[in-house]
Amino acid sequence: MTPQLGIFCVLAALSVLGALSLILQKHPIHSALSLIVVMVSLAGLYLLMGAEFVAAVQIIVYGGAIMVLFVFVIMLLNAGVEEYTNLSKLAGIAGIPLTVALAGFIAAAIGRSGEAVQAAAQTGAVSSTRGISTMLFKDFVYPFELTSVLILVAILGAIVLAQREK
């Protein structure tokens, strides 16, 4: 087993365990912590693929900024321990088959395009800042700007909602 494979296994196991713990934990803070574990181990996986920039940004934006806000809000609201609900009928009828179907689709997609995924993972071009900025500001400039507008709309919506409550 190469060291890369070993590190991959550890990180993959960590992210899956973190995701499971995110759902199964009863306290919101513990769930948030599990989510941070998922984010950081995903960043580790990106690093393993040679995408240093994406890994760093993953930790700075998701692990740092967004999750700190989550934790901040949970602490501020002093959210208490939650209880497990019984499986609702809708979840039993629609949820479980849909989950299985989704898992099947993803597995099929990965299985079919196995080589393509590996090739995409190994392109070093995306890892450099220059490559990323050409992609963002030249090749995909319209989707990028549209996403910014979308985020702006979301921010404005949040402000409007917060103002209305006063």
Binding site: H27, I29, H30, L33, I36, V40, A43, E52, F53, A55, A56, V57, I59, I60, G63, G64, A65, V68, L69, V71, F72, M75, L76, T129
Partner: protein, 414 residues
């Protein structure tokens, strides 16, 4: 055995470097507390630590022993896992951030290998550092939450709000430097400052990023330093641990070595920030004097500082009150003066020491400024803190980025 050594040489060298750096950083941390207490005391016309050892020099040792042997009660109703995790996280992340910092330009040749000063030479150096410090917030926030007590909770809340606010301007203020250097690698950022033209054709101090380039980054530096002080929770931004309001803030319920871990983490991040200031804005290990033969005499500055300092310590030591002091101080002074004289005798070592000498001198200046501010400035009010972060630093640092970008477009990166 030898084949094992040669195949894993990089790993072994790195492990040895990590152990060495940990030892150095922890010792420097301990003496930083001594230095801080001494300087603040002298600012306030007091003597500071004076009883344990000559000039209180053994005080850090006594403090360390006290931290180790104190009772360590766990308060009732704490969230055990998070309560133990928080100090660990704080300390581990603070120490990790030191790993990407380069301490000198030239490698040491040892066992046929070039060993560079600094553990990891990461291409994404500055980003990796920001990623690590971004996670550092959790130490404070979780400590406040897990303690099951109102003052730590308030401290933790303040800490996380403050860090979210100041991280923006901290990151934005660096972008100007990154634009000028065109890289994230800390080593290359320093080298870019060496090759700069400099103001009025003067190399050295005027080719550093604060004074030179298409747009001197002095505004960027001020934004960076202020935000960095807020990020490290130091005076005048130490609201998360405001003694008068919150007992001790987020670490109120922590005792013994768990408290010490927070303490060490805080001082370590002070050192990291000082190193970053030196690297990004003040030329890292570059000498402030031009590298021409007229200024060659400045290469003897380490000796010129060490020898008189050593002689002064000897002179001070022989008249010291206690016998221990009369033994230790002259010994330390002799060693210092001898080291200075040895540098004169071994020009190769002297050349090698230049980079680390200037780097550590700059770091020391910033550490002194940290302590100086603690001794002189009052704490900000919470609304003032938020106003400075969002209404002053963030717009100014964004404007700095935009103007720097235009200046580079007009006059080129250098």
């Amino acid at each position: 055995m030898s084949s094992f050594l040669s195949t894993n040489a990089l790993l072994i060298i790195t492990l040895v470097k990590i152990a060495l750096l940990l030892f150095i950083i922890l010792t420097v941390n301990a003496y930083l507390t001594w230095f801080e207490r001494k300087v603040v005391a002298h600012i306030q016309s007091r003597w500071g630590p004076y009883r344990v050892g000559p000039h209180g020099l053994l005080q850090p040792l006594a403090d360390g022993l006290k931290f180790l042997f104190k009772e360590d009660p766990t308060p009732a109703g704490v969230d055990k896992f998070v309560y133990f995790l928080a100090p660990l996280l704080s300390l581990a992340l603070a120490l990790t951030s030191i790993a990407v910092i380069p301490f000198g330009p030239a490698p040491i040749h040892l066992f046929g290998r070039d060993i560079y000063l600094g553990i990891a030479d990461v291409n994404m150096g500055i980003l990796a550092l920001f990623a690590i410090t971004a996670l550092g917030v959790y130490g404070n926030a979780l400590a406040g939450w897990a303690s099951n007590s109102k003052y730590p909770l308030l401290g933790g809340l303040r800490g996380s709000a403050q860090m979210i606010s100041y991280e923006l301007s901290l990151t934005m203020s660096v972008v100007g430097v990154l634009l000028m250097a065109g890289t994230f690698n800390l080593r290359e950022i320093i080298n870019a400052q060496e090759s700069a033209h400099g103001l009025f054709g003067w190399q050295g101090i005027f080719s550093w990023n604060v004074f030179c380039g298409p747009l001197p980054q002095i505004v960027g530096f001020l934004c960076f330093f202020v935000s960095a002080i807020a990020e490290t929770n130091r005076v005048p931004f130490d609201l998360p641990e405001a003694e008068q309001e919150l007992v001790a803030g987020f670490n109120t319920e922590y005792a013994s070595f768990k408290f010490a871990m927070f303490f060490i983490a805080e001082y370590t991040s002070m050192i990291t920030v000082s190193c970053l200031c030196a690297i990004l804005f003040f030329g890292g290990w570059l000498s402030p004097f031009p590298a021409t033969s007229t200024w060659a005499f400045t290469h003897y500055l380490p000796s010129l500082l060490l020898i008189p300092f050593g002689l002064w310590v000897i002179w001070d030591g022989i008249r010291y009150e206690t016998i221990l002091g009369r033994l230790i101080l002259p010994a330390v002074g002799t060693a210092t003066a001898a080291a200075g004289a040895a540098l004169l005798y071994f020009p190769q070592v002297n050349e090698f020491i230049q980079g680390p000498f200037w780097f550590l001198s700059k770091v020391f200046v910033f550490l002194f400024i940290y302590v100086w501010m603690r001794g002189t400035l009052p704490r900000l009010r919470y609304d003032q803190l938020m106003n400075i972060g969002w209404k002053l630093l963030l717009p100014v640092s964004i404007a700095n980025v935009i103007i720097t970008a235009f200046a580079i477009l007009k006059w080129g990166a250098r």
